[in-house]
Amino acid sequence: MSAAPLLTAEALHKSFGPTPALDGASIEVAAGEVVAVMGPSGSGKSTLLHCLAGIVRPDAGTVRYAGRDLTAADDVELSALRRGEFGFVFQFGQLVPELSCAENVALPLRLDGCSRRDAERRARNWLERLEVADLAGKTPGQVSGGQGQRVAVARALATEPRVLFADEPTGALDSLNGEHVMRLLSEAARDSGAAVVLVTHEPRVAAWSDREVVVRDGRTTATAPLTA
């Protein structure tokens, strides 16, 4: 890896009931790097993402973010980290249906203490960058799946996170919309310097990453970063 890792997981173990979801998984992610986490259904890739993001605590192993041991952090610290330094994009169901698209994007900024006016201005900027500025006043129910995902990406990046976690962000979209979302997501993340942990089972989505880490039976098989 060319740069010092921003996020590291070492020998993670996590079980839900008798079946291990993670069985010694390790990963390193450098600042500004896009890493695809691939593997078949049930291989443990989403559990790995949840452990990296401090959503799930591993049974054993360590997660380090910018030198901090997340496995030793309490819930308040983890919550602050997820709100301030991490962004999230999931497959669907992440926008608040009662709020407009602009209000959805402004929401994490408001929670972070931003004034209403500043939050609205920044939200509109992000909607513009994701090419959905015209949807600002619409609710999520009034936009298409692809448009909704672009709003979700805008919301995830609005707080300028250092790590963006994306779990099957194009899983519910057709090829063309999926590609549009990935192009905008990868460009916006690169422009803002965010690292991206991208969980996907789709090779064409993984092709937007710098390298891939394959999860199989809860263990990881890493490949070297590309030099090109």
Binding site: R183, P203, A206, A207, W208, E212, L226
Partner: protein
């Protein structure tokens, strides 16, 4: 697909006559295109000349079909190198990849590693095409998309094979 490498992989299980090699090759990898005897003995002569196989015994009667061939240490090393290298990613390479997976299983090597190396090579090419597509015009994008969809089909086959390795091992090793 390399007949010579496949013969070497088959010989790792023990010395064989040319006829046995042909029969085993046709059964496992022939896909309705059996090898000609001339091809079998020409391949074995080349392997012999290159020190990758040796004659393990000759049965009375003479003739090439009476020789029993064994793989040498150099031959085993040659199989190692071959299985460890990805095939050049291009559409319709499944038959070579399938042979590599089967030979890895037959010789006790990691078939998962064969698939991992190939996945990495495919994804690297897919990244290059994605970068080219981003910078290109619509014609470029469509040309790259065509290649990307074919490569993706290979990878879907690869993942399906990875998920069925235990089953395949049971069938080919039995």
């Amino acid at each position: 697909m390399s007949i010579a490498k496949t013969f070497l992989g088959l010989l790792e299980g023990g010395p064989r006559h040319g006829y046995d090699l042909k029969r085993s090759y046709d059964e496992r990898f022939g896909h309705d295109r059996p090898l000609a005897y001339g091809q079998v003995y020409a391949t074995l002569s080349r392997l012999l000349r290159n020190g990758l196989v040796e004659v393990d015994g000759i049965e009375p009667g003479g003739g090439p079909e009476r020789k029993r061939y064994a793989i040498t240490d150099a031959g085993v090393a040659d199989v190692d190198v071959w299985l460890g290298q990805p095939e050049r990613p291009e559409p319709y390479l499944q038959s070579t990849l399938y042979s590599k997976v089967v030979l890895a299983l037959l010789t006790g090597r990691s078939a998962n590693e064969v698939l991992d190396v190939q996945r990495a090579a495919h994804l690297q090419l897919m990244r290059e095409l994605t970068r080219r597509k981003k910078a290109g015009d619509l014609a470029d994008q469509l040309v790259c998309d065509h290649a990307l969809f074919h490569l993706e089909a290979d990878l879907r086959w690869l993942e399906l094979t990875a998920a069925r390795l235990d089953q395949l091992r049971g069938e080919v090793v039995a």
